[in-house]
């Protein structure tokens, strides 16, 4: 059931109705039933993997929580003044402690605490490893086995002609990357003792499967989302109306902009050899537009649906194309993946013994500044390698990650010299509008190049396309003939241009801290309704029908 189908509209209407009509205590049950219904209707045969993830993470979470509690209990017993009882599991259990022998006792306690902690940590690590192995294992099997087999085949063919393993195409379970990352974020937090594991398996199942977010995120955090899911949210007219507006805005971006740009992308990119360099460049530019409008449109629909139900989901985009650097871009683009990578990969790496040792060594050898920089750069390299891999197997994805990683590392390396320059020349800052525009355009250009890797079929194709775009670039060569060649009518072009202008205007308002929905709601009723009707009828009459089907959102395939 695609987000942009009539069935989905009927489905969410029913969910809204049942949710607010249900007794407060069981409202979350309506959400759970709705979420599983949505998943099974969409992808019944693969629901088993969602169940495996839910059960494995729930089980491991419970064990981790129990281990944490047992450890805390034992540590608590250690602090009791009269006794040293640790449930008879250590040699010290039956030894009474003499009052006044504080120095000796503190040492003993410290040793015992350390022992308890390390013993618990070992058990916890095994449990965490098990959860990670099961779930990353499933994810890797579905996402990377095809690539692995084809790589093995090509290697085997190099050594002996005709020898090859059987290739197979696996149907990726819907939203597997998103719910896997969300679940693993939860288990790592429980491992870190950030919060206790959810005791109720049904409630945990809801956290994993909440239907608006399951296809393409956002990747939510348990401590931010769970209490909202389980709370008996009341119907609030303003909130509901805002949610509906957000859904409409998502439809607008997806159906009018992304799907229309997609027509150009589908015509140019797979057949790039038939087009001039400038036309390839336009095709990739349209891809950049399509990806953003498609992904952020889908997220807006998801967040809008959640908002109608009284649930605020994490924001995933903050106008990334207004970014003034690659670091800034990644803080605005797919925010929930970025923060996931930061919290669960970059920080642990940076704080790991190996990285600390590297940092110490680098500080000794290269001085304080560079010594600080090297572990950060290394961690970022690993993170962006992971981001590349997250997008898919294959060299082009790794290149996509490496390319972005390179600019991030460059940003880290240049941060200190830039700060020094700014001290001497305070006007050299992105707060100055000209600099800001230049930085934004520069960032967009760097991101634009990265899209060649994402759009192309493979790495060599990406390089060929980049080369041709710039070597054969000639803006005067683009004419209406290009549009008719790809079957993209001139009216389609006007609609796309007008929709992009609206999109840009709204983004600009948001960038200037104007809340667009509030801005509209302050107008008089005629203006307000005119905006609503314009939005609805634009969607009904001007949407494009490119790429229909359940997996039609580009990020649903991840």
């Amino acid at each position: 059931m695609s987000f942009v189908s009539v069935q989905f509209l009927l489905f969410i209407s029913l969910v809204f109705l049942l949710y607010f009509a249900a007794p407060k205590k069981v409202r979350w049950v309506v959400l759970l039933a709705g979420s599983y219904f949505y998943y099974i209707i969409s992808d019944a045969s693969l629901a088993i993997y969602l169940a495996i993830t839910t059960l494995s993470v729930y089980g491991c979470g419970m064990i981790l929580s129990a281990l944490n509690k047992r450890r805390d209990h034992r540590l608590h017993l250690l602090t009791l003044p009269e006794t040293f009882d640790v449930s008879g599991e250590t040699d010290a259990a039956d030894k009474p402690v003499k009052h006044g022998d504080n120095l000796n006792m503190d040492d003993e306690i410290r040793r015992e605490r350390k022992k308890i902690r390390s013993k618990t940590d070992i058990s916890k690590r095994w449990i965490l490893l098990l959860a990670l192995l099961i779930n990353f294992g499933i994810l890797a099997f579905f996402k990377y086995s095809g690539f692995f087999v084809s790589t093995v085949n090509s290697l085997m063919n190099n050594f002996s002609a005709g020898a090859s393993a059987e290739t197979f195409d696996l149907l990726l379970p819907l939203g597997i990357s998103f719910y896997t990352f969300q679940s693993l974020g939860y288990i790592i937090d429980v491992y870190r003792d950030k919060y206790n594991a959810e005791k109720n398996p049904a409630k945990f199942a809801l956290f994993v499967s909440f239907f608006p977010q399951i296809i393409q995120g956002p990747i939510s955090r348990y401590d931010q989302l769970a209490h909202q899911l389980f709370a008996p949210n009341k119907f609030e007219y303003e909130r509901f109306k805002n949610g509906l507006l957000l859904i409409l805005w998502g439809f607008f971006k997806k159906l009018i902009i992304a799907d229309r740009a997609g027509i150009i992308v589908a015509a140019v990119i797979p057949n790039y050899t038939e087009f001039s360099g400038t036309e390839i460049g336009i095709g990739v530019f349209m891809f950049m537009l399509q990806v953003y409008a498609d992904f952020s449109g889908g997220i807006d629909i998801a967040r809008g649906v959640a908002q109608c139900l009284g649930i605020d989901m994490a924001q995933n985009f903050e106008r990334p194309h207004f970014a003034v650097g690659i670091g800034d871009y990644w803080r605005r683009w797919h925010i929930t993946l970025g923060t996931w990578m930061r919290d669960y990969l970059m920080y642990p790496l940076s704080l790991s013994k190996a990285f600390t040792a590297i940092g110490k060594g680098a500080r000794k050898r290269f001085g304080r500044d560079i010594g600080k920089m090297i572990p950060a750069c290394l961690a970022m390299t690993v993170v962006f390698f992971a981001v590349g891999i997250w997008h898919g197997a294959g060299l082009k994805h790794i290149m996509f990650g490496a390319y972005n990683g390179f600019f991030i590392v460059l940003g880290i390396m240049l941060a200190s010299p830039i700060q020094k320059i700014q001290k001497k020349a305070p006007w050299f800052t992105s707060k100055i509008i000209v600099f800001r525009i230049l930085l934004t355009l520069g960032t967009c250009f760097i991101i634009y190049i990265s899209k060649f890797f994402a759009a192309a079929n493979d790495l060599s194709e990406a390089f060929t396309m980049i080369y041709r775009t710039f070597a054969e670039f000639e803006i005067g060569s683009v004419s209406i003939a290009f549009l008719s060649k790809i079957g993209f009518g001139i009216r389609n072009f006007y609609v796309l241009a007008a929709a992009c202008a609206v999109f840009f205007a709204v983004s600009l308002m948001q960038e200037n801290k104007i809340e667009v929905r509030k801005f509209i709601s302050r107008r008089n009723i005629a203006v307000r309704w005119a905006v609503y009707y314009a939005l609805i009828f634009a969607i009904l009459f001007l949407s494009s029908d490119f790429g229909e089907g359940l997996g039609e959102f580009l990020y649903a395939q991840f």
């Binding site: 695609s2 009539v6 007219y237 159906l255 609503y532 009707y533 009459f541 949407s543 029908d545 229909e548």
Partner: protein, 437 residues
Amino acid sequence: MRNFKIALKCVAFSVIFCFIFAAFIHYIDMPRATTRIAMHEFYTQDNIDIFFIGASRFRFAIAPVIIDRELGKNTYVSAAGSQTPIDNYYMLLEMYKYYTPELVVIDVSYTSFEGRPNTPAKVYLPEMKFSKEKLLYTFDAIAPSHYIGTTFPVLSSVNRIHLFSGDYDIWEKFLEKQSQPYKNYSYKYGSTPNRTYVGKGAVSNRRTKSEGRVGHTATRKWTEEEVDSKKLRFFHKAIELCKSKGTPVILLDAPTPLAAIRSQSGYAEYEKFVQNIADEHGVPFYNFGYVKDSAFERKDIYFYDRKHINHIGLPVFSRVIARFTNEYLNDTLDENEYFYSSYEETMAANPKIFNTWMYYNKDAKILTALSYHGDGVEPEYEFRYKPDEQSDYVTIQEYGFSDKIPVAQYDGGFIRVNCRSKGSDVKREQWDVYEIS
């Protein structure tokens, strides 16, 4: 009070939305253009003398303008794709409100009673004048899930939340809807690149089969258990209605290629089933599946698929049906002149190859040629090969050798099979092509 205001606002918003929506649809949507023109013509006749009613097989096989010219009468064919006996009944009711026909010819085929779910009323409902019967029709013909689609036809095929496909040029349609030809029901608006509306409900289909290449025609087995009881009930009601109005009724099965009859499992049972209905009502049933070549020769090029006549067959069969109905009305019809008496007689009287095709065994990489044919015929096959579209075929296996050909050695290209009756010296009777990929 606040809740009341909110509710009032919601209602007002919805009402205005519906008005704007209806206005937009009125100006830019051009649905079911053929039915629109056909129904306009239906309501503007002086009288209808011969009323043909059925589904797509009548629509493509009977051209009233030809029959009118031949007989000097006024005929009309009320037949649309997937039209069911339920549609037929209500269309007959509507017809009797305005006209007094001399003859009603009801189409019957082995798909007439199939228990497929009702499609939205893509037939006559939206264009039918409002009446009590129209309401009854709505509830009888349409599954509840399709009520919205019937009320707003533009929504009937909506899956995604937008109403028109990407290549639907709203502005162009708006202008077109205001144009005089559209307002005057120009036939252009009832036609598509492959189909031309030829007046009074008939459509000429321009697709055609190559001579000698009928190809595979397998259909589902017909069984009485699969007959939809509701459709059967309305079929009976339609006959009773005509009889109650004193109009003679004919049940008529339009012609199909012989291969389709041969491949239709349960064809004889189906024929018997319809004959029983006809007998029950005392009306004649004429099956053009058993038509003699002397009355209407079923050439391959007269059909565009396994059951529909095309633009070449349309005038030929229309003349046949004109003569046939004329003879029926004048009581001079000699059934034996037109039809074989049974399935067995039809097969025995046509000792020829009806069609041929190939089946590919993926594991063994072997193509097997198959065919349907009349009684007393043994088929033989010749295989030819060409590596690409531009090359010429080369014979790779002569007639009389085998019905199988191994194709493992071919990376691509086309295998053509020619089929003829054993002992015949013609180059081929039927042929087909398989693309190796």
